[in-house]
């Protein structure tokens, strides 16, 4: 095979960030018209590598060749000129624009009105409709983005690339927030794109998908390229071993045991969202002592509002919340913490931590005002320090300056450890985990899963809300599926299959409310 057959070639790419080398001398070659997967754990450097191909960041060392020609890609604009397109993990869409406006942004069709260049919005709508017809991507060009589901928004992102006549399509974790059925549909789209002659690069850590669609697969670990494999001739367990660097078991060991009395009980809870609609609609369920209740669902179906209202961060409109039989509906956040709720929030950076506080102060956020640590409103620095050091040791939180480290400078995994240390050390009867492993690497993930099971075995009631269905299936005793703000199915985890849950997540089934 000659050099010219590689549409993309990256040679010896290195990129450093303060304190970490995200990519270390990575070289890959991608053929025209193949589906090329980039596999690695979170933090392995796969997104960084592709951000360089798309011009979001520039490599410190190394060269990029596109169609055999050396190119310096210093901006997404340049990448677009080279007909490279990318769909990011968090979609890059203007929320108050229509589908068509988003797609044409930056390359607007114009019509002259006198000497005045005007956006030809009617022409744009027609063009987008034609494009979506051609590739079988169903969207209505005049819908406003913020009203659309995640899967539809993803289709808009794909159309955006196609509108720009991209030949090389990069997808960053495209299936992370889709239901199993949507994933199947997405994989079909990807195959269709390949059949139309496009080159597709998939960034992912899900082996199943790679096995299903990819032709070849590059495996990254800690910024280094481990190997490139032919997918058809290798097994998933081989790929997994290469990715993690050791044998992995996919399940967290969990001893069976009996549940205690109900700790958290919701009665017809209804919660509004920012716009004023009911995000959570008359939800009732209970979590018993020693039980992990996993709530599965596609993002934006009321999970945030549900967790926030249990914690008291958001007022419920009607319905009641009971903790150990006590009505806590009207209590403030602090009163609920004292009544016995710990909460690991989804958003580490804006909610879980004060990023510019020291680690020590962050570990104290729940207890700084208590008599142990404060005398007549004056904080006892020595007590802070002692408690902080103890938590740091017990939960193995690593940082460069111990308790005095500014949390912003810590790695995501250690930030999450700090939150978990602070919350779990309260030893509350109820623990709410909201997306606890988002963006963490496999080591940190299994550590957190182990903590979840420990809490359950301690006898706490655990509410685990996650978009990651594998995580739900792995940790939960009981699974509830939330769709459109309602619990559409609730059953013991062992009695449900992934496909069945997927149908409920999409609202295809769900007449029988438990």
């Amino acid at each position: 095979m000659s050099e010219q057959d590689f549409i993309v070639e990256m040679r010896g790419i290195t990129r450093r960030f303060p304190g970490i080398t995200a990519c270390d001398g990575v070289s890959i070659q991608i053929r025209k018209g193949e589906i090329y997967a980039i596999l690695g754990e979170n933090g392995a450097g796969k997104s960084t590598l592709m951000s360089m191909l798309f011009g979001m960041i520039e490599p410190d060392e190394g060269e990029i060749y596109i169609r055999g020609k050396r190119e310096r890609i210093d901006s997404p604009r340049r990448a677009t000129q080279l007909s490279i397109g990318m769909v990011h993990q968090h979609f890059c869409l203007v929320s108050n624009y229509t589908v068509a406006e988003n797609i044409i942004l930056g390359m607007e069709p114009k019509k002259k009105w006198g000497f005045f260049p005007m956006v030809d919005i009617a022409g744009a709508n027609a063009e987008v409709a034609a494009l979506s017809e051609r590739y079988g991507l169903k969207v209505n060009p005049e819908d406003v983005i913020e009203d659309l589901s995640v899967a539809t928004q993803q289709r808009v992102e794909i159309l955006k690339m196609l509108y720009r006549e991209a030949e090389i399509l990069i997808f960053d974790e495209p299936t992370a927030v889709l239901t199993p059925q949507e994933i199947l549909a997405f994989l079909n789209i990807v195959r269709g794109l390949r059949d139309q002659g496009k080159t597709v690069i998939l960034i992912t850590h899900k082996l199943e998908e790679i096995k299903q669609v990819a032709d070849r697969c590059a495996i990254l670990r800690r910024g280094k390229l481990i190997t490139v494999m032919d997918v058809s001739s290798s097994s998933t367990s081989d790929m997994a071993r290469m990715m993690v660097g050791r044998e992995v078991s996919f399940t967290t060991p969990k001893a069976p045991h009996d549940f205690g009395p109900a700790v958290l009980r919701l009665e017809n809870l209804t919660v509004g969202n920012a716009v004023g609609c009911n995000a959570v609609n008359s939800v009732s369920f209970e979590v018993r002592a020693g039980e992990v209740l996993g709530i599965a669902g596609v993002s934006g179906n009321g999970q945030n509002e549900l967790a926030d209202s249990i914690m008291g961060l958001r007022k419920s409109q009607s319905g009641k919340i009971f903790l150990n039989g006590r009505d806590i509906t009207g209590l403030s956040v602090r009163e609920r913490v004292e009544a016995g709720i710990a909460y690991i929030p989804e958003d580490r950076h804006n909610v879980g931590l004060v990023l510019d506080f020291t680690l020590r102060d962050n570990l104290m956020l729940r207890q700084y005002y208590q008599a142990k640590f404060t005398h007549r409103h004056f904080m006892d620095e020595a007590a802070f320090e002692k408690y902080g050091e103890e938590l740091i040791r017990r939960y193995d939180i690593r940082s460069n300056q111990g308790g005095a480290t500014i949390v912003r400078s810590m790695s995501g995994g250690n930030q999450q450890k700090a939150i978990i240390a602070r919350e779990l050390d309260l030893k509350t009867p109820l623990v709410v985990f909201m997306q606890p492993t988002r963006g963490l690497d496999a080591g940190a993930v299994s550590n957190i899963h182990r903590r979840i099971i420990e809490e359950r075995d301690r006898g706490a009631a655990v509410l685990l809300i996650s978009l990651d269905l594998d995580e739900i299936m792995d940790c939960s005793d009981t699974v509830a599926v939330i769709f459109g703000g309602r619990i559409s199915r609730i059953a013991p985890a062992a009695s449900l299959t992934v496909d069945e849950i997927g149908l409920y997540m999409m609202g295809v089934r769900g007449g029988e409310v438990a």
């Binding site: 988003n102 390359m107 956006v119």
Partner: protein, 321 residues
């Protein structure tokens, strides 16, 4: 009574329209994602540049030329000064609120200093103001005879027509052109704009400069009407009023226009009332409060439902989210 009503309409419009053009400037800046408290400073510096041009040209030519050029120079002056705000907010990532306040302080200090210096060096007098006088008004024959509404076409300052034309053009640019589409995208999701090939920081810089130019028109209008000269008294806080107007208007142009009209009529209505009651001129200060109180009360009712541009006030950095 009719005379009084005519006066309210005539004075109200001549006060509201400069506010309106300034509010459009603010909308441009804020829709692109740059908080702009510096409108007050922009209009003052614009008025300074324009007034200087007018006084300078008046030495050589009579007639309307100095007046036309003064508006041109006011736009240039406001725009150049706005470039500094853009530089602070975009290049140096200064806090945009603080930068705005600082720009206003600088505007006052710089214009008073320069006015004195220029008066001494160029015109050879020791004054701290540029004397302008007011522009001649005109009345549209025919239309002005319509009862009540005729007042709209009576005793009109030429700049009012100019402002309406500019406002129409600028609305069109913001809502119908590719540039407008990109600008509004920068204020909602700059990452999306960047990914779509829009140079976010350049668009934002242009937006801030536009807001400076438009504010310059407003400042020059005030200098030619209310104050009849340029001095530090031009900094009366009207820039802040137009910010309030654009907040009510929910960052859209037409509702901001109604808000400006409301302020204008509150202002002129109060003045007319004082005149009618025959109170001494010190009561005018009491009336000047009206638009501000109105703003405060309306803000209480409207702030809940307002949606500011999502990326407002956040400096954009490549590759960071």
């Amino acid at each position: 009574m009719t005379e009084l009503l005519n006066m309210v309409i005539i004075d109200g419009l001549s006060f509201a329209l400069p506010l309106f053009i300034m509010a459009i400037g603010g909308i441009y800046s804020e829709k692109s994602g740059i908080t702009n408290l510096a409108l007050e400073g922009f209009q003052g510096v614009g008025a300074f540049a324009g007034a200087f041009a007018a006084v300078f040209l008046a030495q050589y030519t009579a007639g309307p030329m100095p007046c036309y050029f003064s508006f041109l120079f006011a736009m240039i002056g406001g725009g150049v000064f706005a470039l500094l705000h853009a530089l602070l907010c975009i290049r140096f990532r200064a806090n945009q609120v603080i930068s705005g306040v600082v720009m206003n302080i600088l505007a006052v200090a710089m214009t008073t200093f320069l006015t004195k210096r220029i008066n001494a060096a160029v015109f050879g007098n020791a004054g701290n103001k540029f004397m302008l006088g007011t522009i001649a008004r005109f009345t549209v024959p025919g239309l002005s005879d319509i009862p009540v509404l005729g007042a709209i076409f009576t005793n009109v300052y030429p700049f009012e027509g100019f402002i309406l034309v500019v406002a129409a053009v600028m609305s069109c640019v913001l809502y119908c052109t590719p540039f407008g589409l990109r600008l509004r995208a920068c204020g909602d999701n700059p990452h999306a704009a960047d990914a779509a090939g829009v140079d976010v920081n350049r668009v934002r810089t242009v937006a801030v400069v536009i807001s400076g130019c438009l504010s310059g028109i407003a400042g020059m209008s005030f200098a030619y009407s209310i104050s009849a000269n340029f001095s530090a008294d031009i900094f009366l806080g009207y820039g802040y009023l137009s910010i309030a107007a654009l907040i009510f208007g929910n960052w859209t142009i037409l509702p901001a226009f109604w808000a400006c009209l409301l302020f204008g009529f509150a202002h002129s209505g109060g003045m007319a009332l004082i005149l009618r009651l025959g109170l001494p001129s010190s009561y005018n200060d009491l009336v000047r409060i009206l638009p501000y109180v109105l703003t405060l009360v309306l803000l209480i009712f409207f702030s809940r439902h307002n949606r500011s541009p999502r990326a407002l006030g956040e400096p954009y950095e490549k590759g960071k989210r």
